[in-house]
């Protein structure tokens, strides 16, 4: 089977690591009671990771539009192909929707993002507590949906590797050509 290109593999795993990191930070930081320097630091890191995901997602999408992924295993039934494509599309949408909802949430809360403490990113909307409350809920549910879909994505990959043994997972793993 044909593997993904190195560019595709790098995009995939870089974004995967950042998403897991941002998700973990998000869970930890929102669980810290009160107001501590560590909490604020985690919030800052979480936002920087989110913005990085958004930038990488944009580059990845532009790159993906010009580069077709390798074909799926010929043995895969049609419903699985449909499910795989649907899931991949949803993950692409969420790679944008999750960081964007977080970005607008922090803007509505009146806290702009200063990327790595160096660059103040654009403020598109004014402080709006009512909107902030809505975006907070939206960000949470988009994140949780994404976590569930990533879980499904991982389970499907493992099923291909362990049950079907059809080389689907290896296409996205770094290594020598198959």
């Amino acid at each position: 089977m044909q593997r993904y290109t190195t560019t595709a593999i790098v995009f995939h795993w870089l974004i995967a690591v950042l998403l897991v990191g941002a998700f973990t930070l998000g869970l930890v930081m929102t669980d810290i009671p009160g107001f501590t320097p560590a909490k604020l630091r985690y919030y800052a890191w979480h936002k920087w990771a989110g913005v990085t995901v958004l930038l990488l997602a944009l580059l990845r999408l532009l790159w993906r539009l010009k580069n077709r992924p390798p074909a799926l295993a010929a043995s895969m039934p049609a419903w699985q192909r449909g499910a795989a494509h649907g899931l991949h599309h949803l993950l692409y949408v969420l790679m944008f929707a999750v960081p964007l909802s977080g970005y607008f949430y922090t803007l509505a809360a009146g806290i702009p993002v200063v990327y790595f403490g160096l660059f103040k990113l654009p403020v598109f909307i004014a402080k709006d507590p009512a909107l902030a409350a809505v975006l907070k809920g939206l960000h949470y549910w988009l994140v949780m949906s994404m976590a569930a879909l990533v879980g499904l994505h991982v389970l499907a990959a493992l099923k291909h590797a362990v049950v079907d043994r059809d080389g689907t997972l290896r296409r996205m793993l770094p290594g020598r050509s198959l």
Binding site: P37, R41, A44, I111, L118
Partner: protein, 184 residues
């Protein structure tokens, strides 16, 4: 008739004069006191939602002006109700012990058209410092608008104790920005 008109005019003028010597009434809806600070280099503007300002100002005698502002320290809105509760606690404003921060002017001097130099005592969390800052004043819709900025060091007032003394996390410099609209 002429005498009556003159008398009436004199009485009216007298009333206006008397009124202008009295303290101005603050228009709370159009006045604001905010604190600008940097948290991990992120600029944050927070507002005190409860304060009172008493300004005694007569355009004819600006040097006789006095000003007093009292701020409810538990009323700083930094963007989330949860955090607002935290900064009222002991580490920050200790609003239970020091419910008010105050500014009381000691001298107000004219400094050119529409400008005043204000000196006074600023008390936050039980600590008092002498401060001075330029103030602009301009008439707007029959009222006076006083605007100014006063940069202070939060640690001089013990705002942010213990681990919060780290100025890399929250910068020492805080700019108090205010706009007080007051009239008869």
């Amino acid at each position: 008739m002429t005498t009556l008109r003159t008398t009436l005019a004199a009485v009216l003028a007298g009333t206006v004069l008397l009124a202008s010597a009295a303290p101005l009434k603050t228009d709370a809806a159009h006045s604001s006191v905010s604190a600008l600070f940097k948290q991990m280099d992120v600029p944050v503007e927070s507002k005190f939602t409860r304060f009172t300002a008493q300004i005694d100002y007569d355009t004819a005698h600006p040097d006789k002006a006095t000003a007093r502002v009292d701020i409810d320290t538990a009323s700083l809105d930094i963007g989330s109700p949860e955090y607002n509760k935290e900064i009222a606690k002991k580490t920050w404003f200790d609003a239970a012990r020091f419910p008010k921060a105050s500014f009381v002017s000691t001298a107000i001097r004219p400094a050119g058209a529409g400008k005043l130099n204000v000196a006074g005592k600023l008390t936050i969390k039980g600590r008092t410092q002498d401060v001075s800052f330029p103030l602009s004043v301009k008439p707007e819709a029959g009222k006076q608008v006083f605007e100014g900025q006063l940069p202070i060091k939060r640690l001089a007032f013990n705002i942010g104790e213990g681990e919060w003394q780290d100025t890399g996390m929250v910068a020492d410099e805080v700019v108090i920005k205010f706009r007080v609209v007051a009239g008869q």
